[in-house]
């Protein structure tokens, strides 16, 4: 539906413009065609309004051919055809109207002197103005939509950042780690110190990274490694890790704190439920123009259904979609004994992304 019908005020204003056009046309008839004033008004104003209503159909043509996306030649050709068809229809209407107004043969021929060229001229001008107007309104609307979409994206990104920060401050992680430090101080001061360094490192990194829009994959991997190193102190032999990061993707730009929540899930909802523990595997490689990032872990088939597994994952999914739209995907492959998340992102180097 044409947007003008959504607002009565706009529609009235639009029709008023065409009434003015009709009045001008009447003046031309009176002075140029020597027609009587009353007849000219009666004839010109309705056909001008008719032209206005007819021109509303141009909106659909504009929708089909947004400027910029369509080659100029094609646009010119289509508008010429649309304009001519519109003009013909209008002139037919005008003749019909004239005939209805003045059914008597003799009077009709009197006033019809010079009417055709005038009508063609006026119609062409009216139609051109209408097309131009539609393009102007269309451009205005597009720029407003783009602004709104940019704002929406900003809000979404901020929300995701907040959520991931909250996830970062997982109280279990913090207090359990502190408990490990307290335990180590008693019998292994070197390891205790090491643990403090790891924790300081982890919290500093996640705070700095969260403030950025995008970071190189290598930094995100290093954060995940630090996280796993801390968890290894807690879980001991039960937690094993393997990283396989291809050299040609280390520089790829990724949203910060995207990998970390996945690794966290792999530990807390996977390995932590297994008596013998298991291995968390992180894999990154290039697939044509995409980065493929995979986090896989074994899990316990009897594990209690979890309330929070989804949260981190939903968060990652919404961030990836906000940043890359349909060009990115997040796939989950969950079986009884294994869990695997793979993310596909357009591989843009972080150097290119910055410049």
């Amino acid at each position: 539906m044409h947007p003008i019908f959504l607002h009565r005020g706009r529609l009235l204003l639009y029709l008023a413009v065409w009434v003015v056009f009709g009045l001008l046309l009447a003046v031309v008839f009176v002075f140029g065609g020597k027609a009587p004033v009353a007849w000219s008004l009666e004839f010109a104003v309705p056909i001008a309004v008719a032209l206005g209503l007819q021109s509303l159909s141009f909106w659909y043509v504009v929708q089909q051919m947004p400027p910029g996306d369509t080659p100029v030649g094609r646009m010119a050709a289509i508008w010429t055809i649309a304009g001519l068809v519109s003009l013909l229809v209008w002139i037919a209407l005008a003749y019909g109207w004239a005939k209805w107004l003045l059914p008597e043969e003799q009077q009709y021929s009197d006033h019809a002197v010079g009417m055709l060229p005038l009508l063609i001229f006026a119609g062409a001008i009216g139609i051109s103005l209408a097309v131009l107007g539609h393009y102007l309104v269309g451009a205005f609307q597009r720029s407003r939509n783009a602004e709104r979409r940019a704002l929406e994206l900003q809000v979404l990104a901020r929300e995701a950042e907040l959520k991931s920060l909250r996830a970062q401050l997982d109280p279990h992680f913090l207090f359990n780690s502190l408990n490990s430090v307290a335990a180590l101080i008693g019998n292994d001061t070197v390891a205790a110190r090491q643990m403090c360094f790891l924790m300081a490192n982890f919290f500093r990194k996640s705070l700095t990274l969260a403030r950025q829009q995008a970071i190189p994959l290598a930094e995100e991997v290093s954060l995940a490694e630090t996280f796993l190193a801390i968890e290894k102190v807690r879980f001991g032999d039960r937690l094993r890790t393997s990283f396989d990061i291809a050299d040609d993707v280390k520089d790829v730009s990724v949203p910060p704190l995207m990998l970390q929540p996945l690794v966290e899930n792999a530990v807390h909802h996977g390995v932590a439920h297994l008596l013998e523990g298991g291995e968390v595997c992180v894999q990154a490689r290039r697939r044509e123009s995409f980065l493929e990032l995979v986090v896989a872990n074994p899990c316990d088939p009897d594990r209690p259904p979890s309330r929070s597994t989804g949260v981190g994952l939903v968060n990652v999914r919404s961030r990836v979609e906000t940043l890359c739209g349909h060009r990115a995907s997040v796939d989950v492959d969950a079986s009884d004994t294994a869990f695997r998340v793979s993310i596909l992102l357009p591989a843009v180097s972080s150097q290119t992304a910055k410049s």
Binding site: F175, N179, S180, A183, G236, A272, L274, L275, P304
Partner: protein
């Protein structure tokens, strides 16, 4: 006082035992790294007091208590974060400690346990224990069964049907039958009523397993399961099932 420490983290066990050794009345008789070990050691060693972590692989601390039932010693929960405090008090825990535990706080908790042991407070009922073993507001998700000396964790979706046999319930799952001492009506209240229906005085059916219903006689039906098993169905059972599956 004989003490058992249960925690899946080596370091958490070591700091707790380090601090407990400072207390004169305490003798550490054993340490368990998971729920299965905890159940086994608690029965073998018969400790007076058990320090019990809540989040552990396979069995949670609450589930360990459920399995031990009346044989459970006095319990002090130790956990990193206080989201379980309410449930801990429902199972009459002596205390609830947050890790890392400060030694004076630990000493106070042990003192409370000693007092509790002198007064011989009765243990919570089995029903209280199993109610606390699941998160508040949620129905049962898995059944804990001790069968021939082993602990089985049976997720509900694996159960085909449950049959009452004297004082026991027999859980049928994929051709196997596991027995547990519990009453039908007690279990029925803990199950999700949209998934499990009591179709007969002595049968509860997993609705997903139902293949068809045959008329057997006047006011009696047979529920035919996907694997061919036939279960009797009473008139009330038939009405309940009809209401559920429409």
């Amino acid at each position: 006082m004989r003490v058992l420490i249960v925690d899946d983290e080596t370091l958490a066990r070591s700091i707790l035992s380090e601090h407990l050794q400072q207390l004169p009345a305490v003798e550490i008789v054993g340490q368990a790294a998971n729920g299965f070990e905890a159940v086994k050691l608690a029965e073998e060693l018969i400790p007076d007091l058990m320090f019990l972590d809540i989040q552990m692989p396979k069995l949670s601390g609450f589930e360990v208590l459920e399995l031990l039932g009346e044989r459970a010693p006095a319990v002090i929960f130790t956990t990193a974060f206080d989201e379980y405090a309410l449930r801990a008090f429902e199972v009459h825990a002596v205390d609830y400690l947050l890790k890392p535990v400060e030694p004076p706080r630990l000493a106070a908790a042990v003192e409370r346990a000693a007092e509790r042991l002198r007064n011989r407070t009765p243990a919570p009922s089995a029903e209280q224990l199993s109610a606390a073993a699941r998160p508040p507001g949620r129905t049962l998700e898995r059944i804990l069964i001790r069968h021939e000396g082993r602990v089985h964790v049976l997720p509900l979706e694996r159960i085909d049907y449950i049959e009452a046999q004297d004082d026991y319930l027999s859980f049928a799952a994929g051709g196997k039958h596991l027995r547990k001492q519990q009453t039908m009506s007690e279990l029925e209240t803990q199950l999700d009523a949209t998934r499990f229906v009591r179709i007969h005085r002595s049968f509860i059916l997993n609705v997903e397993r139902l293949a068809r219903i045959d008329l057997y006689g006047k006011d009696s039906w047979l529920a035919i399961l996907a694997d061919g098993t036939k279960l009797p169905m009473s008139r009330t059972g038939h009405t309940k099932l009809k209401e559920l599956i429409g």
